[in-house]
């Protein structure tokens, strides 16, 4: 029995789990409709049609089904399955209790769909009924059981990664464990990928969605991509969220695309398909719902200028609470309409910004590779621990929180204190030169507070 098999046995040893019939699952995946694979859609779709994917998860089967009906009506391209936060913490007992309460009382006691509790047999019915690709959104450090259940259900896109689902989402879950748990996920995805179309893995670029500089986002995207391709994954999406400056978004997209290709080639994985995903504004939203719609619309315009392959949407209710299915479907319809009427987009290139950003990313990547550890995941782990990678506003204790960023006059996010991140001197000087640093500390703190709320 392989190590993977052994690990599998351990995670299935759980009273809330479906009894897995792996032979049947294998057969199911082998014969599954191509339409369920987003990797297939990426290949098929005329390259200029961006796929539209909303967010959303409800506790009960019935409500999730109804949500999907709304989405299909609104002409969705990719369905989301967002998981509740108990499941994310592997607390299936609480999830089970809350699911029963939700079913009994018609009140939602969970902030997502408890996939493990519903089980793959039930969930697969829903997925195959709609016959659209489904993307699993969670935020789980130990997602091993979740991913087994997801793939068996017909969910062939898995979001997340050891860094992106940990640094923004956790205070003290051990990072080294996360790497190992995600290694399992990558392998499972890689194995199933040989049966039919590949399973797509997607990294979560938005991170804390708060003043994260593009260099950090890109480095983390590239590293999670490499960790995934290393294990044999053949279809991977790098992603990022609206930064606040149209130019910075376009530059971020261009550099991310270019370097993803470059680094994939470096590890002889040029055969893997790499896609670019754009998240509509992920930071603090305006409470005015009309304004929220303007913001969402602008995100779509920018995604088109960036040339994203997929866009993940927000709703007018974002600042207020979990969106209704109506609000959610409305965003999908509006986004599709916007993509339809948005024409004659210019091809924008900002060479200077691209060069600076490329140099920054390469320098950080080099520092990671230079770490003395023997495997990539350990190098990355060490780099986070010693602050070579530093994510602003991460709640995790391992994160250094030494880097300070502000917005310049054009709202580009700039690094004004690099901490331990090896931003090359020339780039660092450039970043600081864009900002007014003559101000006193109080003013700078006020600027940061203001910058967090720029869309409000």
């Amino acid at each position: 029995m392989s190590l993977l098999q052994e690990e599998r046995k351990i995670i299935l040893n759980n009273e809330f789990v479906d009894t897995f019939d792996f032979a049947e699952v294998k057969e199911f995946v082998t014969n599954a409709s191509k339409d369920l694979f987003i990797s297939h859609h990426f290949k098929q779709k005329a390259k200029d049609k961006m796929l539209v994917q909303p967010r959303g998860g409800f506790p009960t089967y019935k409500k999730q089904f109804a949500l999907y009906e709304f989405f299909v009506e609104a002409n969705v391209d990719v369905l989301p399955l967002t998981i509740d936060s108990n499941t994310r913490l592997n607390d299936y007992a609480t999830a089970s209790k809350m699911l029963r309460l939700s079913e009994a009382n018609d009140v939602d006691m969970l902030n997502g769909y408890p996939l493990v509790n519903h089980g793959y047999r039930t969930t697969r019915k829903m997925i195959t009924h709609f016959n659209k690709p489904v993307s699993l959104r969670h935020g789980t450090p130990d997602a091993r059981l979740l991913i087994e259940t997801a793939i068996a259900s017909g969910i062939f896109e898995i979001e997340g990664g050891p860094i992106t689902y940990l640094l923004p989402y956790s205070k003290n879950f051990p990072l080294d464990k996360a790497f190992l748990y995600w290694k399992y996920v990558e392998r499972v995805c890689a194995n199933y990928s040989t049966l039919n179309e590949p399973i797509n893995r997607e990294s979560f670029g938005p991170l804390t969605a708060t003043l994260v500089p593009p260099a950090i986002t890109i480095v983390i995207q590239l590293l999670e991509m490499l960790l995934s391709l290393e294990e044999g994954v053949k279809s991977f999406s790098v992603s990022f969220a609206q930064n606040g400056s149209m130019t910075q978004d376009i530059v971020t997209g261009a550099v991310l695309k270019k370097l993803a290709k470059y680094y994939a080639e470096q590890i002889d994985c040029a055969d893997a398909a790499i896609h670019l995903v754009y998240h509509q504004w992920m930071g603090a939203f305006p409470t005015n719902r009309d304004y929220a719609e303007q913001l969402i619309n602008i995100s779509t315009v920018i995604a088109s200028m960036v040339g994203a392959d997929k866009i993940i949407t927000k709703t007018r209710e974002e600042a207020v609470g979990i969106p209704t299915k109506e609000a959610n479907a409305k965003t999908v319809a509006n986004t599709q309409y916007t993509l339809r009427i948005l024409n004659g987009l210019p091809n924008v290139v900002d060479e200077e910004e691209e060069e600076i950003l490329t140099l920054e990313v390469q320098a950080i990547m080099q520092a990671v590779f230079n770490d003395a550890a023997d495997t990539l995941w350990r190098k990355v782990f060490n780099s986070i621990k010693n602050g070579i990678i530093d994510v602003p506003f991460s709640p995790h204790i391992i994160n250094h929180n030494e880097m300070i960023t502000v917005r310049d006059a054009k709202k580009n996010i700039r690094i004004i204190k690099r901490g331990n991140v090896p931003i090359p001197d020339r780039c660092y000087a450039y970043e600081k030169a864009q900002c007014d640093l003559t101000k006193d500390t109080t003013s700078i703190v006020n600027d940061i507070i203001h910058d967090i709320g720029i869309m409000q």
């Binding site: 936060s85 913490l89 609470g321 979990i322």
Partner: protein, 137 residues
Amino acid sequence: MKVVTGVVGNDIHVVANRLIDLSLRARGFEVFNLGVNTYLEEFFDAVVETGAEILLISSLNGEAEGWGREVKALKAQYKNLDDLIMMIGGNLVVGSGKAEDIVPRYKKYGFDLVCHQVDLNTGLDTLEAFIQERNTP
């Protein structure tokens, strides 16, 4: 005055917490910030340990409701917390709710000041007004 603050439960929304820290300091409070992902016991333990007069809890992801119900029972297990000013703010329900329903409910849970989707500065102004009123004989 001493304040213990933090974000309750499994909630990891840290941005408001960082701003609250800064704002409280700017207003002259002595701040003990427990950060995100803090359980009720940890809050009360810290209050006892630091001798804080104010406990200011944030909740953003909707889970406050679950914790709120346990506040009274837990607080009763500690001594000398009768004068503690208890404040909570952020998004206090899953989905959206009306302040007129939410505020009385949380007051029943034992909070003196309840700020559902209230701007931080407005909230802290209310807090200072509350302190002043209490201190006026």
